[in-house]
Structure formats: C-alpha cells, structure tokens
C-alpha cells in the first residue's frame, strides 16, 4: 500500500503497532511464546488493519479485572519507546512540542489512515502555556485511557516538565492536559 493512496479500510502504521506491541511485552501484558509471536508478526514498514490493533486492545481488556491503570501505563510506555527508541527525539524537544505536534491532527494522521468517519481526529483545541493547560479533542477509535497515557508519555518524554496529568472525566473525548 503506498502512502499516497487513501485506504477504504482503516489502517495503522507498523511503527505504532510495534510500539504498542512492545509496550505490551515490556509491561508483561503478554509474555513467552505469545509475546514472540506478537512482535514477529509486526513489520515497522507496513500498514496494518485497525482491526489488529483493536484485537490487541481487546486482549488487554480481557486480561485484567482493573484494566484502566494498565491502559494508562501502556500509553505512557508506548510514547517513552517512541521518544527514546523511535523518531520522537527528532520531532520534539520540549514537552509542549508534543502537544503542538497534534495541531490539525498532524500526529494522528501520520499513524492512522482511512475513512475520516472511522479514523476521526486527535486535535489540539486549546493551549495555554502560562496556565499549563491544554485540551485535545479526540474522536479516534482508540481507547481513551490509552490516549491519556499517550499524552502523558509524550509530554513527559523530553524531561523538561515536572508535572503532567491528563483527565477526561466530564467528556471522554475531551482530554484535558495539565502541565508544569
């Protein structure tokens, strides 16, 4: 599949899939032969059906009685890997850069493609550096707690901020970032 074509089915970039899978392995959510099979199955240069991502999300959900803290940690771990072992360090230099990177769904568009009504958006809606406040509007098909973890991990990764928290208590699709 070429990068220029618009796929009829939603697809996720292999690098994101690999980060997600590696985070699952690092956190021992999958282990042993299942871990080897999961990682062996993912080619960083390919695009994968969104269904494969959802399958891993489902597997994580079924593995834990209290899954929310795990999902949050998974998102953080993913972005830690992305920053320290992936392209992250070349793209952002400060925690706030990660938030700006989401402007116009720029970040999400590089890792998920397909019909807009399915892939949705992940867009920086508000940003106030003085107050340490930002809002991301998300309508992606991904789990929202994992997305909270992604924001925490992405903003924390450069190491210039002391405090980061993301909440979406009132509206699951409105991710409120507090950073200092």
């Amino acid at each position: 599949m070429s990068d220029e074509s618009e796929p009829s089915e939603p697809v996720v970039h292999g690098a994101l899939m690999a980060g997600f899978a590696q985070a699952c392995v690092n956190l021992n959510i999958v282990a042993g032969r299942r871990a080897t099979a999961l990682l062996a199955d993912i080619d960083m240069g390919r695009w994968f059906p969104l269904a494969k991502w959802m399958e891993i999300e489902r597997m994580v959900g079924e593995s834990y009685a209290n899954v929310e803290p795990i999902r949050l940690k998974l998102g953080i771990e993913m972005m830690t890997l992305w920053y320290h072992h992936g392209p992250g360090k070349a793209l952002i230099h400060r925690g706030a850069d990660f938030l700006h990177f989401q402007t116009g769904s720029h970040g999400i568009a590089s890792v998920i493609r397909g019909p807009r009504e399915v892939v949705g958006s992940f867009d920086l809606a508000e940003f106030d550096s003085g107050r340490g406040h930002a809002v991301i509007r998300s309508s992606t098909p991904f789990d929202k707690t994992i997305e909270c973890g992604v924001l925490i991990g992405g903003v924390m990764a450069p190491g210039d901020l002391y405090y980061v928290d993301v909440t979406n208590d009132g509206d699951p699709n409105r991710l409120v970032v507090e950073f200092h």
């Binding site: 834990y64 949050l72 002391y162």
Partner: protein, 308 residues
C-alpha cells in the same frame, strides 16, 4: 541559593532562601512525583490483583487437572486389569506337556505385546506372540481386537500358516485404516516337532547345543494380503524354545549398543540344561545389568518339552 544547589547539598534548612520561582518548581516537582506515585501505585495494584486472579485460576486448573488425572489413572487401572485378563493364566494342559516360564512387561499400564496359548481344532497346542506397533491404550485396544479375531480364526482353520493368513486377511483392512500393524510368531506343537509362522517376531530353538534361529522373513500382520510360509523344526525332550518380542533385544546400554539377539541366544544356549524358569531368570538378570532403560514392551517365553 538555587533549588538545584539545595537539592545537591541535601540541606533542607536553607529552603527558605529559595526564590519564588524555585519554590514553584519545587511545588510542581513534588506534585509531579506524587502523581507518578499515584499512577504507579494504581498500575502495580492492578497488576497485583491480576496476579492474584491468575494464581486463583491456576489453582483451580491444577485441581481440575488433578481430577482429570485421577480419572485417567482409574481408567488405566481398569484397562490394565482388562488387558491382564486377556492374557492366559492357567494352562494345565500346556503344563502337562511343557515346562515353561513367561516374562511379560508393558512399558506403561497397558501395552501392545500380546501372547496366548491355544488348543487348535486338530487337538495340538499352540503359542502366539504378537507385538502391536505403538504403545499404550491404542496398542492395547488393537490387542483386544486381535484376540477376538484369533478366536474366530481358530474355529475356521488349524494349520499355523492358514491361521496367520486367515487372521491377516480378516484384519488387514482395519489395521491399515488405523495405521497399525503387528508382528506375529505362531508356533503349533506336534508330537516331536513344531511348525511355525514368523512375521517380524523372534524365536530360537536350542537343540543339542546348537542354535536354530527362526526365519522371520514373512510380513507383519496388517500390511497387505499375502501368503505366509510355514516351517517345521524338531522339538524333543530337553530341547529349549525361546519366543520373544523386540523390546529386550533392541534395548540399549548407556553407550548406545543393542542388547542383541546374539547375546540373548547365547545366553539361552549356555543355560539350556537349566529348568525353563532359571533360563528365563538368567536372561532377565543379564538384561537388567545391560540396559540403561526399558524402551519398549517386553515378552520372553522360555519353553522345554517334558519327557513323555
């Protein structure tokens, strides 16, 4: 005094010297740490809960496995009793004519070695020794099937060659379907001789200090329809006959050498003057010292014709 200098010097008394900006940094640093601890605590709590649940599931699965194992054990014990019941026990008519001793050991609770004593339609006595391919329950089921087929066969024919051919023709379809076969060694005794059919089985006659090895070139039972050959050898008072399956002679020592037919035959020959039971025991003692571990079912029958 900056926050970094205070932190490096580990001197909390000088916190009051911090600037407003550094106080803010310290505040968010502390809040950030608390938040991290909160997230990590929640994560480890969830992981711990999950571990506890996994252990509970593991315990339950272990109990289920133990129950299943117990059921299988009981079934295997019953199967062992059934198989044992299928083997010959009292043989007063054979004992009147022959002095003999039998060693029969299955690798597991049940197995594929099978022997039996028969009274043929013409009144003569016979022995059959079979080794069904494979081990365990499936081989034992085939053994029970062969025994049933042999009972029917005996009602139809009485020459060893005819018996084996009839048995092979009656069972080849089924055995091929279940991908199994059996070696056969069938011996029928006359007044001063015996006739035998041997397809993959093992037999040796010791007569006058000489070793006469069975011709075992006929096919196994269950491979294809084919005619079998029948051979006749003299068998008089004092002669010793040993029939066995491959379990003993193919067993290996720690260096990987086979026990071998030659070693067993020489042992039978050199002890041929002893009673059958002692010959068999000498063989077992020698085998016990040789082999590293049993690798197959074992059957060994030593038989001597009594004086008339």
């Amino acid at each position: 005094m900056t926050l970094d200098e205070i932190l490096q010097g580990r001197d909390p008394d000088r916190l009051s010297e911090l600037s407003r900006e550094d106080m803010h940094r310290l505040f968010w640093m502390y809040k950030g740490l608390l938040k991290r601890v909160e997230r990590d605590t929640a994560y480890w709590q969830a992981t711990n809960d999950n571990l506890r649940t996994a252990y509970e599931r593991l315990d339950e699965q272990e109990r289920e496995l133990a129950r299943a194992y117990q059921t299988i054990r009981q079934d295997l014990e019953i199967a062992q009793q059934v198989q044992h019941a299928l083997l010959p026990k009292d043989h007063p008519e054979m004992l009147a004519r022959f002095e003999f001793s039998v060693y029969h050991k299955q690798m597991t609770e049940v197995g594929g070695d099978y022997y039996d004593f028969y009274r043929l339609r013409d009144g003569s006595h016979a022995i059959g020794v079979f080794d069904i391919s494979g081990h365990g329950v499936s081989a034992a089921l085939i053994m029970a099937y062969l025994k049933a087929q042999l009972v029917q066969t005996m009602e139809q024919v009485s020459r060893p060659r005819d018996i084996v051919e009839y048995l092979n023709n009656a069972t080849v379809g089924f055995l091929r379907e279940v991908r199994r076969y059996a070696t056969v060694n069938f011996v029928a005794f006359g007044e001063r001789t015996f006739r035998y059919v041997c397809g993959g089985g093992y037999g040796v006659l010791i007569r006058g200090g000489e070793v006469h090895t069975f011709n075992k070139g006929d096919p196994f039972i269950g491979l294809r329809r084919r005619a079998y050959s029948e051979y006749e050898l003299p068998f008089e008072t004092g002669d010793v006959l040993a029939l066995y399956t491959d379990g003993m002679v193919e067993a290996q020592d720690s260096a990987g050498a086979d026990y071998s037919t030659r070693r067993l035959h020489e042992l039978v020959r050199s002890n041929a003057e002893l009673p059958a039971g002692q010959i068999l025991q000498r063989c077992l003692d020698d085998y016990g010292q040789f082999r590293r571990v049993d690798a197959d079912d074992i059957t060994l029958i030593v038989l001597r014709r009594r004086a008339a």
